[in-house]
Symmetry: C2
Subunit: 338 residues, 2 copies
């Protein structure tokens, strides 16, 4: 098969790779219906994360089960499934506590930008739909594999409550879906920070009530102004830089909560600054598996349409252009069809 | 009057000072029944916090109202009162949200190691008892002014739930009272870290179920071992160093909570380490005022006896010896009687 391989900064190739096969009896191999490029893939594409050897890329996927290992009992050939970027057994104590991204047997799923994908721990990782969904639902279902679940985790980690005032830092796909998640959890006011017209428009469609074009300290000042000097009840940090985290901390009221889901790069939090801010901090790799059943229901019933974040769709063999478009911020998020 | 003044590292003097008087109409002046020395006072005594000019010290107090300003309505001359180290109006939005230590009009109370003390914002800050308590209750009531409320906040910030497994980092007075607080909130297992026999004994009296003499990484390994590799549900960090915070982060299970109340000194938290730990972090200057009514009830009804942390009682004029004893860890906490 032909699949995406990252060779180094700015160098993604679509080339011949061995097709994945069952390695462990708990594996499944699925035929990808759609995959996509993650904001976190750009850390490598931009050379911020080093690529040591050519690496198959992609960790977001949905598709039809092609084959299962001998120990797999809960999914079978022909079913349409979605899974998270972390394979998890869904039975260990961390999984049972809802933290499948810390599963004691977790494995990173890699190489999803391909027609076929091996998924370890298939019983714990994959959630099957009752039937193969219509094609117009595929983008929204694909979004549940990472970006929507991550936005949802940001909102839950920031304890978004009905009636709350929420600010979202970051206008990438996760930030936009964090807006949607905050509204789904009942936020009365959602302040999004963006100066990009197409992202502003999508933020409004997802329920943002206020859009700020300011950045950094100026954005903090505006959020304080909009909240009469108090600060937001919940701030959803979806970038992962020192500036974005500081912006989140300074925008939150004492006793308020920050959910942070952007993988931190070069971030060091000053202990005293955090201490005197009196904020709550929770975040990390989203336990996407926890949210899949509920989010699948919301998509299938038409209550949410997170697939709107895909503003560029390409055939998989144009994956390199997909990376370029996101790197240059011409696209929010690229969907790839094998 | 004569009162304690810090001149610099290791230099506390008991000397003549002007008696405090009403400055604002919202002030009260109280006659101190007992005061004490805080672990945080030692940061200055040890030269870690710089003293720029001779400074009256002490911020923990209880006593009898001597005089009130013309605007004070809720406390009156002759009443026995307790207040927090942060004066707060108890009416602003931060106070109403339970974060009186972030009151929009907060003022640090200073100079309590004295016979008389000016307390700003008396209506918001002071809680009066129905009658002047018997002298044997004074140590426990004094403890509510900071150290007990701070331990309680550590337990609440770490979301201690009935049945939980809790670890406490730090065997100072706050750490010991964090043990007591965790048990009051229903923790089934409380692991205290201490290698000092008298502190170990007090930790057991306050309800610790396990005492570890290990430190740092070894303590983390033991806590992991005691929790079958999972980590504690809640960790109460009561020191404020890089090592103690890292110990807390590494001892907590994914999705578990850390309450940190030791003022951080030289602490920088690595963003990625925190991210992948998936812990919840909350802490800061304790909103002691929030807890005063409940904690006064628990003391007066004999349910808790936090005054046990005072293992040295001195007349106020021996305040310098009180600092020395705590600095040298001969005393857990020194109570001073004017």
């Amino acid at each position: 098969m032909r699949a995406a391989v990252m060779y180094g900064a700015g160098d993604v190739r679509f080339e011949e790779r061995p097709a994945p096969r069952i390695v462990q009896p708990t594996d499944a191999v699925i035929r990808i219906s759609a995959t996509c490029i993650c904001g976190s893939d750009l850390w490598s594409y931009r050379g911020i994360n080093q690529i040591k050897e050519p690496t198959p890329f992609g960790h977001e996927y949905c598709g039809v089960v092609e084959e299962v290992g001998s120990a797999v009992t809960s999914v079978k050939r022909g079913q349409f499934v979605i899974g998270s970027f972390f394979a998890s057994d869904n039975t260990c104590q961390h999984c049972q506590a809802g933290y499948q991204s810390s599963c004691q047997h977790r494995e990173l799923v890699g190489g999803a930008q391909a027609p076929l994908l091996r998924v370890p721990l298939a019983d714990g990782t994959l959630v099957a739909l009752p039937e193969v969904p219509p094609s117009e639902l595929i983008p929204s279902l694909l979004a549940l594999s990472d970006v929507m679940g991550t936005g949802w985790f940001a909102a839950e980690a920031a304890s978004v409550k009905p009636g709350a005032t929420v600010a979202v830092v970051g206008d990438g796909a996760v930030g936009l879906l964090a807006v949607l998640s905050a509204r789904q959890l009942g936020a009365a006011r959602v302040i999004a920070v963006s100066r990009n017209p197409s992202r502003q428009k999508l933020a409004r469609e997802f329920g943002a009530t206020d859009i700020l074009p300011e950045r950094g300290d100026e954005a903090v000042a505006r959020i304080k102004e909009l909240t009469k000097g108090i600060g937001a009840d919940s701030v959803l940090e979806c970038v992962g830089t020192q500036e974005s985290l500081m912006q989140a901390i300074q925008s939150t009221r004492p006793g308020g909560s920050i959910g942070y889901v952007g993988v931190p790069h070069g971030v060091a939090l000053d202990g005293q600054q955090l201490f005197y801010a009196l904020v709550r901090l929770h975040g990390g790799p989203a336990p996407v598996r926890r949210y899949l059943p509920n989010l699948i229901d919301l998509v299938v019933s038409g209550k949410i349409n997170p697939g709107k974040v895909f503003d560029l769709t390409l055939p998989l063999d144009q994956v390199a252009e997909g990376y370029r478009a996101m790197d240059q911020r011409r696209a929010i998020k690229t969907l790839l069809r094998p």
